[in-house]
């Protein structure tokens, strides 16, 4: 099977998965107890007003019609209106999505940049102080709860030393880049970096620890394989054996985990967002759930689902590049 064919197949599968997510969330909403109209109007509203709103929102239609209309809207990017704020759900999501993506990607970069070299050092200097240090770090990293780490970082680095701001996101990454390009000053970018540093470290620590462990154990596994001895026997320089051969093969399982983790970061950074008052999708989802704002909940879940699917397709295509046997099977 060619690479293109493989990719097309994965994308079609992804569309199917997204459709499944839409259907399940729609079914959940339909099965949820209570009259949705109650969530929109005041409890004391007249029956006429209720009926009028029911018609306007389309809740008087049979369920399958509502479902088809929802799907129809989805195709053109219309996710409906929020019950609570009466605003367009797609706009409400679009406002928050960049912050979430910034944080998820920053946390992943922190993890990859720290974890992979650490894992490599740990595996190639097994049973040396560097290895013990890395192993200890990953053990501590995996067992430290996010909210505690976040608060401690704020306490020490922000409040006491004053190195980083306490919370918030005064400027978005795109604005910061635009300002750098138009004015030539990096001030906004520095502000953005200083604000995202602590949340990214907080969110990335567990991830860093996990990838360090995976890299170490994967590399040790790989180093024990016969092809490594054969590559040594042909006289290839050690650097090429370690990086071109061994690390590359070690990356195959790591890419999978990276993708899955990035997917969870999109929806699951709720605690970190709360601690740092970071205006992301996670905090909006939580408030939507409190308000039983179904269109918003549904919209956010679908966006997270689409994100997951996209990342998985990306991961699969990287995976196919790294491991030529995938496209063959």
């Amino acid at each position: 099977m060619s690479y293109a064919k493989f990719l097309v197949k994965r994308i079609l599968q992804g569309v199917f998965v997204v459709w499944g997510v839409v259907t399940v969330t729609f079914a959940l909403r339909a099965a949820a107890p209570g009259d949705p109209v109650n969530l929109i109007v005041d409890p004391g509203a007249s029956p006429e007003l209720r009926e009028q709103i029911r018609r306007e929102v389309g809740l008087d239609q049979p369920l399958y019609v509502q479902y088809l209309e929802y799907l129809q809207g989805l195709v053109v990017g219309d996710l409906g209106f929020s019950y609570q704020s009466r605003r367009d759900v797609s706009i409400m999501i679009a406002e928050r999505l960049p912050a979430t993506l910034e944080l998820a990607i920053a946390a992943t970069i922190v993890a990859v940049v720290i974890a992979i070299p650490l894992g490599v050092v740990s595996a190639t200097r097994r049973h040396e102080p560097a290895d013990y240090g890395a192993t200890l770090f990953s053990l501590v990293g995996i067992s430290t709860p996010n909210f505690w780490l976040g608060i401690m970082l704020i306490l020490v680095l922000s409040v006491q030393i004053g190195l980083f701001p306490v919370s918030g996101r005064p400027v978005s990454f795109t604005d910061a880049v635009v300002s750098l390009v138009t004015t030539g000053y990096a001030h906004d970018l520095v502000t953005w970096l200083r604000h995202i540093a602590l949340p990214a470290i907080t969110l990335g620590t567990y991830f860093t620890a996990l990838i360090t462990r995976l890299t170490r154990s994967g590399m040790l596994d790989e180093l024990g394989k016969p092809y490594v001895t054969a590559t040594e026997a042909k006289g290839l320089p050690g650097v090429l054996i370690r990086y071109k051969h061994v690390l590359r093969n070690t990356m195959i399982p790591i890419v999978t985990v990276l993708g899955l983790q990035l997917g969870t970061l999109i929806g699951g950074a709720v605690i970190t967002e709360a601690v740092f008052n970071w205006p992301g999708l996670g905090s909006r989802l939580i408030s939507a759930i409190y308000a039983v704002d179904w269109p918003l909940i549904q919209g956010i879940i679908i966006v997270i689902g689409v994100g997951f699917v996209c990342i998985n397709i990306l991961v699969d295509s990287i995976y196919a590049y790294l491991n030529p046997r995938v496209t063959d099977e």
């Binding site: 092809y227 001895t229 042909k234 006289g235 590359r248 046997r325």
Partner: protein, 429 residues
């Protein structure tokens, strides 16, 4: 046969030990070996007899917890001798260099260019995620870079290792890649040399797209890339089908005749030895117990172990008859369990009281090269001095007959699960 009797490699008193949790394992003990230029030297023995460890000791591929604890490996290379003489005079003797006395870096630089190796299982000996062509081209490139400088050996012994910085640069700039275009082309012609059809297309394929026999051909091509002085073939046919085995042996034979290279062939298969080798060493428990020309070992053998090995080969003419496997198993190589007796005594049908002390190697009848580590070389078997059957504790299992061995793959008794060594990579055996 060899046109000269010039030694290429002289191994003297080599001991390689593994320091495991169970104790010290003497994988190779005080081993001497002389390989002449242009010869095919065969080492034969059961799994765990130390043949692979010997090969890996020569290649400098012994990994922790293993270690070469003593011995000398003299390699004839005038150029190398001249290059290291100034700094490491004690490691040079004429045009010979003691590989165990020169720095690790210099020794590593000999891999691929002076010595190369073919492994037992081709499928696990290639990296599954790089194309075969790329992997061959790497081997060519090693050689190309080594000989790029006219004073190549000297340059090699002093030059810097390929650094991490150069690797990072190479991932970004295609022009800085380690493997050059010329090497890729040479890799294709090597594939052609070993008889792989459509070499241009096959070079871009991955190892899993090759059959076992084709991949073993590719591995031979890879081993030839550096035009080595010595090719070590460690069980080159064990993992292959019988029909493919013959093709691979033919190929090795043909290449040997064309290039005149020297081969150290390691196998447990006496048929392979008989077909390929000029000289043979029979290994048992980390020692060469009998050595000599093919005729010495096959026709005039003295050691009861050699006799036993030959008796374990299925023979068409005796079909229906019974094989005579050697009773018992390979002995433990754990230092504390090895007594100071002949290591074969507990399995030997002709063990005598004299065998309770470790026999020295003595010359035997036959050619000048015939030597054996057995008291029977100097006196004949004397039943009155024989050791009682149960001398070594409970008698080992009797020589039960093996009815129909499936092939000549495993003519020898199975390995005992004990802390002996993993032999020859393990997977395929």
């Amino acid at each position: 046969m060899s046109e000269s009797t010039e030694a290429l490699l002289r191994v003297e008193g080599l001991s390689t030990r593994f320091f495991t949790e169970q104790g010290q394992v003497n994988a190779v003990s005080d081993l001497d070996l002389r390989i002449d230029r242009g010869d095919v030297y065969g080492i034969v023995g059961e799994s765990g007899s130390g043949k692979s460890v010997t090969a890996r000791s020569i290649m400098d591929l012994i990994e922790s917890p293993g270690e070469i604890t003593s011995g000398e490996i003299w390699y004839r290379n005038g150029e190398l001798a001249a290059a290291v003489e100034d700094d490491h005079g004690h490691a040079v003797d004429g045009s010979f260099v003691d590989l165990l006395e020169i720095p690790e870096r210099v020794r590593r630089s000999l891999r691929g260019t002076s010595f190369s190796m073919i492994f037992q299982d081709p499928e696990s000996s290639f990296n599954p995620s790089l194309t075969v062509g790329e992997q061959l081209a790497e081997a060519v490139e090693v050689q190309r870079r080594a000989s790029a400088n006219p004073r190549s050996t000297r340059a090699r012994t002093r030059s810097e290792e390929y650094s991490l910085g150069s690797f990072v640069l190479s991932t970004m700039l295609p022009s800085k890649r380690y493997v050059s275009e010329e090497s890729r082309e040479r890799a294709i012609s090597l594939l052609e040399l070993v008889g792989i059809p459509d070499p241009v297309e096959r070079a871009d394929e991955y190892p899993h797209e090759y059959s076992g026999g084709m991949l073993q051909r590719a591995m031979i091509a890879q081993a030839l890339a550096g035009e080595p002085d010595l090719l070590i073939a460690d069980e080159p046919t064990t993992a292959l089908d019988v029909t493919i085995q013959a093709q691979i042996l033919d190929l090795l034979d043909e290449l040997k005749r064309e290039t005149g290279m020297t081969i150290l062939l390691i196998t447990h298969n006496l048929g392979v030895i008989a077909r390929m080798c000029d000289r043979v060493g029979v290994m048992y428990a980390g020692e060469i117990v009998e050595r000599g020309t093919l005729a010495d070992v096959f026709d005039d053998h003295v050691h009861p172990y050699t006799h036993g090995l030959l008796g374990s080969i299925p023979d068409v003419e005796r079909a229906g008859g019974r094989l005579e496997p050697i009773p018992g198993n390979v002995p433990s190589l754990l230092d504390r369990e090895m007594g100071d007796r002949c290591r074969f005594a507990d399995r030997c049908p002709k063990a005598m009281e004299d065998c309770l002390s470790h026999p020295p190697e003595v010359d035997a009848e036959g050619s000048d090269h015939h030597a054996v580590r057995c008291v029977l070389a100097e006196r004949s078997y004397d039943e009155s001095r024989a050791l009682p059957d149960d001398y070594f504790g409970e008698p080992d299992r009797p020589a039960e007959a093996v009815d129909e061995p499936q092939s000549d793959d495993e003519p020898l008794p199975a390995e005992r699960t004990q802390p002996t060594l993993e032999d020859a990579g393990g997977d395929g055996s």
